[in-house]
Assembly symmetry: C2
Homo-oligomer: 131 residues x 2
């Protein structure tokens, strides 16, 4: 693991806590901050650090294992797997994500971010994807 | 209302159903497809159309009313309010959204969308914001 994992949990968010952990860890995995062979923090330790129930962390790890990111062996730390390139997204999946992106932009605008600030953020994300 | 409301509900999604309705309607509101003075579909009718419990729709409407988008008067249809420009987002809110956008891009990559396809989508959203 190249640097300490940063996971932020918002207990007031409507997004379930296990899902927030999944989203944060998946970002680390996709961006390569967690690489194949890396061990994840032990469930109970991460739960303690985040101040949540260990079942919530365990649920997040199981979800990521189902997505093919983690190897969960009983009694051992969760281990990052080498995950092949995902199958190309169907047109339906693509449209699903396009809709969710549009909804997130709407949420950002409603939350007081200026169109210019959001555009700048989108452009910088697009730049990073192209490099 | 300029065109029929399209709301897609994914009952298998980890995002709560009421939240999916909120996100979809908020996008319509921010993009002006729902304008001040428009009436929203009656709770029971929308619930029937979506095949969900009417309490779920009512919860979504209450959430949007709390965000200042809707006027809910007992016994009347929910009405879109003229909502002043939101207060500028704090630095924390901005960072929160930046993180969620990054996580969504990671989810799209993990879901099989190519970096090029995601970048194209981000650029087109940024374009629309600038126009």
């Amino acid at each position: 693991m190249k640097r300490p994992l940063t996971i932020r949990i918002d207990l007031k968010s409507p997004v379930p806590t296990y899902r927030q952990i999944v989203d944060a860890l998946r970002a680390h995995l996709v961006e390569g901050l967690l690489a194949p062979g890396d061990a994840l923090p032990a469930v109970r330790r991460l739960a303690l650090e985040l101040g949540i129930h260990f079942n919530t962390v365990a649920q997040a790890y199981r979800e990521l294992a189902e997505e093919g990111w983690l190897d969960l062996k009983h009694g051992r730390r969760a281990m990052v797997l080498a995950r092949g390139a995902p199958a190309a997204a169907s047109r339906g999946t693509q449209r699903h994500f396009e809709r969710r992106l549009r909804e997130m932009v709407a949420e950002m605008r409603a939350g007081g971010l200026s169109s210019a600030a959001i555009a700048t953020e989108l452009l910088s994300l697009a730049e990073r994807l192209k490099s």
